[in-house]
């Protein structure tokens, strides 16, 4: 847990990277996490649990996370959730505002100080009434890709994943179903990185829960019928490393756009247009992750 501020020095340790920061700082000097998140954690007197949402650039991490958080605050399914601080609401507001206006939100910038962080207290409506503190950052796909290729480039990502208890790995099912091997290769690289981060000993399989989410599954409806079968066939490298190295993996299909159009103008730029929102399979991976944690 982040240490309480020292009366003499008025400093506070970042719960992500451990950097000592001035108490009045807005962002952590080490990893750029919002200090409001650290203060909230200290106030709660318990360390939050980190779920990381990772995947290739353009796979839809921001949209997935924004929808998930919005659904949680709308008490979807079996959940109740309370955002801790206005900064936590910004991500879902950004996603919902854009998609309801039928525009995809802008890409997450590479710079960690411009990422959205979300700190939520979540509980199940049925069963246990215990609230769980969850931190879910929206990492830029390019930054994650760079860190995976050249570890230590983005220390914030390494520190974050080092503290992660569970991961939701997003994979572009639309590309995979179209025959591209790129999603499979990126997922393979990502899983080797997570293996490196999570495995306590080389011979042991990773125990962290990993939810593999096949995104944009509206393009390939068979994903919804049988996500495991789809992954085994179309993402075979990912499937194999999951079998070999990860003990607790589940596959899900997800989509958030009910129909996709393309705006085409004289400039010949083609802009994808989310014609209407119809989220499917957004809550299920999160629910599974919480069950495993």
């Amino acid at each position: 847990m982040a240490s309480a501020p020292s009366a003499q020095t008025s400093t506070i340790d970042c719960l992500i990277c451990g950097t000592q920061n001035p108490y009045e700082a807005l962002l952590c000097g080490g990893c750029s996490a919002p200090m409001a998140l650290i203060h909230e954690s200290v106030a709660q007197q318990r360390e939050p649990r980190i779920i990381s949402i990772v995947g290739e650039s353009n796979v839809g991490k921001t949209v997935y996370l924004g929808f998930l958080l919005d659904m949680l605050t709308r008490r979807a399914g079996d959940f109740d959730a309370v955002p801790k601080g206005a900064y936590s609401v910004n991500l879902q507001q950004n996603v919902i505002t854009h998609l309801s206006a039928r525009v995809f939100p802008p890409k997450t910038p590479m710079e960690p100080d411009q990422w959205y962080w979300a700190y939520y207290q979540v509980c199940r409506k049925s069963g246990s009434d215990a609230w769980v503190d969850l931190v879910m950052p929206d990492m830029a796909g390019e930054a994650l890709s760079t860190e995976v290729e050249v570890p230590q480039t983005f220390s914030v990502i390494r520190n974050l994943l080092g503290k992660t208890e569970a991961a939701i790995v997003l994979v572009d099912a639309a590309l995979a179903s179209a025959g591209s091997s790129r999603p499979d290769f990126f997922a393979l690289k990502l899983m080797t990185y997570l293996d490196d981060m999570f495995a306590k000993r080389r011979r042991q399989r990773v125990k962290h829960p990993i939810a593999v989410v096949l995104c944009k599954a509206d393009y390939c409806p068979q994903c919804f019928d049988d996500p495991r079968g789809f992954a085994r066939t179309n993402l075979n490298r990912l499937w194999n490393i999951c079998e070999n190295r990860f003990e607790n993996v589940a596959f899900f299909a997800s989509s958030v756009v009910g129909s996709l159009g393309f705006a085409t103008g004289a400039d010949e730029n083609v802009v994808p247009v989310p014609l209407h929102g119809a989220p499917r399979g957004v809550l299920e991976p999160f629910q599974w992750i919480l069950d495993q944690m």
């Binding site: 979807a76 409806p221 919804f224 009910g258 996709l260 393309f262 705006a263 014609l275 989220p279 399979g281």
Partner: protein
Amino acid sequence: MALKLFTRKARGAIAMLPGRPAVRTSPSGRPVSGEYQPAERQALEAEPVQRLYQQHRFGVLVTERHRWAEDEEGRNVCGLAERRLEEEMALVPAGSVSMPTTLEDLPGSPEIDVEVGPFLLAIHTVTNECYQQFVDAGCYDELALWPEAIWPHLIELHDLTGTPGPRYWMDSRHDQRLADHPVVGVSWYEAVAYAKWVGLRLPTEAEWQMAASWRIKSEADVFRRLPWGDAMDYQRCNVWGTGRGAVAPVNAFPSGAAPNGVQQLIGNVWEWTASDFEVSDAKGRVVIGEMPMRSVRGGAYDTYFDTQATASFRTGQILLARAHNTGFRCALNV
């Protein structure tokens, strides 16, 4: 046609309340609990005119009644069919609609005004039970029902087991627990072919909006955002915010009906229309799909944004999309 089709009375045999337990369906549309329960095959009447009635092809019997003008039994069946149409369809009076021409659906956005003549619209969307008749009659092999352009694709219009039928059926049978649910997982072509088979047609986009916004020709010049008024009400329709999370029977949410009794224009399933989907974005760029698109209207049980489940919200689907949340209802000229 002398039909008494204008009434404010709620129709339908059973008044379903919004709180009725849903048959839970998976994201693919299949019931979650228990094994698939295929509907039994119905024995067909030997007499052709009786068979048409049995198959709910009331539109054929009424519009082609001259075929049985010399036959007393035929005339009687046609009379019965006319009464069934009176029960199952409602008159939408003449009026006008203002359809947004861009993706924005806000006051002041560009619109096009369209005059709509009177027509009849089905009170409910087509159910699995009704669509079963179409499948059982072998209509997927009846080329005359399908435009020639789609013939090469007919073989792809199969269910989960590879037999002809909607996307989420098995062995060409619907799950009998979903008999009174809207048929989903059908492409635009299947919707058009069914409507043709029963002697009806799909409504145009303007007709659909006319029915939902009820902007009839009157001095009041009323325009409704929703069939019941202007404010979203989760007790009156099945959208994401309702919390049901699954398709409901076609006669659930009766309080959301339009003034003429047409139900579920908002929510439950998107509805195919006969019209091309033609809009542009805020910068004037034309919006197209990967394939040609047709307009779908009304929103569905998983429509997340309330602003996308209104009388005037325009969106589209590619012609061959067989979505879990898209069905259709039929119309008929007066």
